[in-house]
């Protein structure tokens, strides 16, 4: 009996610890965003609830937060759409067409995805400068598509290869060409997979920092993560309250998306992992 009680206590304590460890920063972030003074933890400073920071972030034009948010949404949506489109075509070729060296392609793609991001930032900057694309959406969308393609491809290959070949043959007999097979049969049947790929690519692009920092210069293309990091306060102070308020606002949609679609995201990831 005692042993069992000990087990429960340990379990609860462990769970609380893990929760506290991983959620404390978010809790602190939320608190600071509602506090008049960010140093409310220090001795002699009272916690004074206020919504000023949210007001500043959402209405103040000097911070450009809404511009960043708009940029982020557009860039993420375009990148995700591109990733889905290209990976669907590639996955169809790999699972359905007589392509030599399919496995080679898949593993090559996997290896490429492991290159450190910093390794190509310099080249990317030169490329985008010479194209005159610095500080445009395209400068971010193209690298994001390339960067999310390996994961998207692996997930979709997993989905596509689970679709029975008889469906392709049935569609062929019914008069479809390959293009129609992809559009009318494979993609609709693999809709959950397409959706998880879109979501994963979207979240990746939404969170990405380094490319966005190097390839944008102002509010016309800068995305939220970089924008928040570069928030400038009056007299050179760091405006912690505004930063935290903006962070809360940006985190919420991602959390909501992840909560609603968590099952799909997980099944999409594991399917891609299990079926090569």
């Amino acid at each position: 009996m005692n042993e069992r009680r000990l087990q429960i206590i340990l379990l609860v304590a462990g769970t609380v610890l893990v929760f506290a460890f991983s959620l404390a920063p978010f809790f602190y972030m939320a608190l600071v965003s509602f506090s008049a003074d960010h140093e409310f933890l220090a001795h002699g400073v009272e916690f004074e609830p206020t919504a000023d920071h949210y007001e500043a972030v959402l209405t103040g034009s000097s911070l450009h937060f809404l511009d960043y948010l708009r940029n982020s949404l557009i860039v993420s949506a375009l990148s995700a759409a591109g990733a889905v489109m290209f990976s669907a075509l590639a996955a169809f070729a790999i699972t359905r067409l007589a392509l030599p060296g399919k496995l080679g392609i898949l593993f090559f793609v996997l290896i490429v995805s492991m290159f450190p991001q910093i390794g190509i930032v310099g080249y990317l900057f030169k490329l985008m400068s010479s194209l005159g694309w610095i500080n445009t959406y395209m400068a971010l969308v193209l690298p994001y598509i390339a960067w999310t393609l390996p994961l998207s491809l692996w997930v979709l290959v997993g989905y596509f290869s689970q679709i029975p070949r008889e469906l392709d043959i049935a569609a062929t007999v019914d008069g479809c060409n390959r293009w129609q097979i992809l559009w009318r049969i494979i993609i609709p049947v693999a809709a959950p997979g397409m959706f998880s790929v879109f979501l994963l690519a979207f979240i990746f692009a939404f969170n990405e920092f380094m490319f966005a920092l190097m390839l944008t210069t102002d509010a016309s293309a800068r995305t939220v993560p970089v924008g928040i990091a570069l928030f400038q306060g009056l007299h050179g102070q760091t405006p912690w309250g505004d930063i935290m308020a903006a962070s809360v606002i940006t985190t919420l949609p991602v959390i909501v998306l992840a909560l609603i679609f968590q099952r799909r995201i997980i099944s999409g990831l594991t399917q891609g992992a299990v079926k090569g």
Binding site: P164, I169, T172, V173, D174, G175, I185, V189, A191
Partner: protein, 376 residues
């Protein structure tokens, strides 16, 4: 529509090298005929169906739909599946899971760009033919196996194909439903008057459905004949050992002399030969007097006649089926299957038997045929 295959063969190239899926073969399938391709797995029956459907290109030979060549290996002519207007029914049904029944059936017409009212009329008619009108708005996953197969057949017949191809369409159904669907398929095929080619490994299905049945083995056509002819005059020991339930016993035998009479020695017994049976046995035997004898279970006799010698056997297993009993007997190295009216046999019981050689078939010995004859 009449279907003609001339000198058709198919080879695949795999990692292990060249695989001959289908040896050179000639076939003529008459207009409106229900033609069954029967064989064990790996016999080439599905390859043959795929060649006819246009899903594979023949390595040699020509295929004609009516007078129209649809594939010619020499002239590099090949009409795609879409151009051949064939319908295909799969073992796995292959319904489109994201479409309801109505859209599933309408799909081939939609791809062929039919007008909407025409599609609706055709779908309604096909659904009525297969009595699935009340399922039209259901999704495939909500249907039972039998209902799915009906939808698949409706999708196949909806655009009036010139050829109806079925690849083991009933294998996934339970035994009872299989019987009903079999009867219905035959009725439907007669009603529509479409030439049908049906692939199966189940000889009962083949015999009950086919106007003619082609037996294939290892990519080779063994015999193409009406069911009763397959049963009564099997062209090879393989056909004899494959057709019938249970199929014929294919036994190795030798010709010899005993007390001045010509005898056939089989399974430890010797049987006197005379007249027509003697001639047939002589014709089949090789130089050493060896041959194969195929005896149907019903021609295994329990009461040896006076002039015959008998075969000593031991009862291996007894399967009472109600009206009759299938009894398996061990005679030396041979296993002999027989069908008897009585059921009171015990395992291990000694049972002397004899063969009605007048009804037996004789074949030249071939090592590969000997290997597979014990499957029964």
């Amino acid at each position: 529509m009449k279907l003609t295959l001339k000198n058709v063969s198919k080879e695949f190239f795999s990692l292990r090298g060249r695989v001959r899926a289908l040896r050179t073969l000639d076939l003529e399938i008459e207009d409106g005929e229900f033609y069954v391709l029967l064989g064990p797995s790996g016999s080439g029956k599905s390859t043959l169906l795929n060649l006819i459907a246009g899903l594979e290109k023949p390595t040699t030979g020509q295929i004609y739909f009516g007078d129209q060549p649809v594939a010619d290996a020499q002239r590099r002519l090949f009409a795609s599946t879409g151009q051949r207007n064939v319908a295909f029914v799969f073992q796995s049904y292959a319904l489109y899971p994201h479409m309801d029944v109505r859209r599933n059936i309408a799909f081939p017409l939609k791809i062929a760009r039919w007008k909407k009212p025409d599609i609706e009329r055709a779908v309604q008619q096909a659904a009525e033919t297969l009595s699935i009108t009340e399922l039209l708005s259901a999704r495939p996953r909500e249907l039972s196996g039998g209902q799915r197969q009906r939808v698949a057949i409706a999708r196949a017949i909806v655009r009036r194909p010139s050829l109806f191809l079925l690849d083991e369409p009933l294998s996934n159904l339970d035994a009872q439903l299989r019987g009903t669907m079999r009867a219905e398929l035959k009725r439907l095929q007669r009603q529509l008057g479409i030439t049908a080619i049906y692939v199966t490994h189940d000889q009962v299905e083949a015999m009950s459905l086919g106007d003619r049945v082609a037996v294939l083995r290892g990519g080779e056509l063994q015999q193409s004949a009406p069911p009763h002819e397959l049963y009564e005059k099997p062209a090879s020991p393989f056909v004899a050992g494959f057709i019938g339930s249970p199929p014929a016993n294919v036994l190795t035998a030798t010709l010899g002399q005993e007390q001045g009479r010509r005898v056939l020695k089989v399974s430890g017994g010797s049987f006197a030969l005379s007249g027509e049976v003697d001639r047939r046995a002589q014709a089949a035997a090789d130089a050493d007097g060896r041959l194969l004898v195929a005896v149907r279970p019903e021609h295994v006799l329990l009461t040896p006649s006076a002039e015959d010698s008998q075969v000593e056997t031991e009862v291996l297993s007894v399967e009472p089926l109600g009206r009759e009993t299938v009894v398996r007997l061990q005679a030396g190295r041979d296993i002999i299957t027989t069908v008897l009216a009585e059921a009171d046999f015990r395992q291990g019981q000694q049972l002397p038997i004899s063969f009605s050689l007048g009804n037996a078939h004789f074949y030249a010995p071939s090592p590969e045929a000997l290997g597979s004859s014990q499957g029964g």
